[in-house]
Amino acid sequence: MTCIIAAMDMPWTRRLFPLALAVGVALVTIEMIRRRKLREQYAITWLLASAVLLAFAIFPDLVSYVSRTLKVNYLTIIVLACFFFLAMIVMHFAMVISRQAEQIRQLAERLALLRRQVEGRAGRDKEAGAA
């Protein structure tokens, strides 16, 4: 009974906040893809986040349902979900950076070796021309 009253009490604000956030995240993501500033590979995470927020806007009782089943405080659930999401993203980026650091290292090495070959060849050509 109390639950229904609470839902009747402030239904729009409960839907409005996640809805605005979901639309905002989706719009920014799509605009960044359009401007070619974001690769699809990285956009998927943000579109998924937007979808989850949308789910909360459509079913505002989802969080309280999860909170009741797991017997964890409503706010704690939200904080944990945010933390988990951000941690996943940071981990993903750390892996991408590690891989790219190795690729840059290999490119720099190859560049140094090729430069030596090219300069050696140019030097020999010059000597041949002089002789």
Binding site: R105, A108, E109, R110, L111, A112, L113, L114, R115, R116, Q117
Partner: protein
């Protein structure tokens, strides 16, 4: 001629000199190499220097590899090993460009490799060469050696020595897997080598007093802790699968 020197004749030997803004000291190192280890080829890996290190090295007739950006000693070393591998050298010696290492000590390293070691490390603290560290450095060195012992069962007297010689097998391995860490690259690469079944041996070697160790005590402690942690992290990494033999490197042949 001592019997050691003939090793240079029988095998193709490359001396890899990593250098970062060493235009003041590199002439001394290269002059020493030319006078006392002239049988070997020298490659200087210029690690993105902003001074004229590369020009000084070229004036000495050394091959110079110029990295477009600063990769750290580890990055420079791997470039040197890649060059050694692709140019078909049988032996590679690491020799610092700051003038700390002595060319007349190379023969001992080379003969250790000729006797079957994959990685021969010049130790300042073995035999009559015994070199006195400051107390702080000694503690740091023992700590790093202790962690390395835990992981590899290797007893090292001078774990951070960058004066080393590598066999052909070791060259092929380091050309792919030389760690990039700042300052800890030598001990980490030794641990990596030992974990992949390379025969590691320490050899007594004299060195010049460096005195130029640019790090203070607080930083030194911090680096020591970082190096210890890095070794422990290396220990949980999976071994690389491709260490059995060194195939002739087709994929990179120009």
């Amino acid at each position: 001629m001592t019997p050691h020197v003939t090793e240079f004749d029988r095998r193709r030997c490359l001396i890899i000199v990593p250098a970062y803004n060493e235009s003041r000291n590199i002439a001394r190192a290269l002059g020493d190499l030319r006078d006392r280890a002239g049988e070997a080829d020298v490659v200087v890996v210029d690690d993105g220097s902003t001074d004229d290190t590369a020009a000084v090295a070229e004036a000495f007739g050394a091959a110079v590899l110029r990295l477009p950006c600063n990769l750290g000693v580890g990055g420079a070393m791997r470039t040197g090993y890649l060059y050694a591998l692709e140019s078909g050298y049988d032996l590679a010696v690491q020799f610092d460009g700051d003038g700390q290492h002595r060319a007349d000590q190379i023969a001992a390293l080379v003969s250790a490799v000729a006797d079957g070691a994959d990685l021969a490390i010049g130790s300042r603290r073995l035999g009559e060469a015994s070199y006195r560290f400051s107390l702080a450095r000694w503690v740091g060195s023992r700590l790093v050696a202790g962690v390395a012992f835990l992981v590899t069962r290797l007893r090292l007297t001078d774990p951070t020595s960058g004066f080393r010689a590598s066999s052909r097998r070791m060259i092929a391995f380091f050309a792919k897997h030389y760690p990039q860490t700042y300052l800890g690259d030598t001990i980490e690469s030794t641990v990596l080598a030992a974990r992949h079944g390379m025969a590691v041996r320490e050899v007594a070697a004299r060195m010049h007093e460096s005195g130029t160790s640019s790090i203070g005590n607080v930083k030194g402690v911090f680096h020591t802790i970082c190096i210890c942690l890095a070794i422990l992290i290396d220990a949980i990494e999976r071994r690389f699968p491709d260490t059995a033999e060194d195939p002739p490197n087709e994929e990179h042949t120009p």
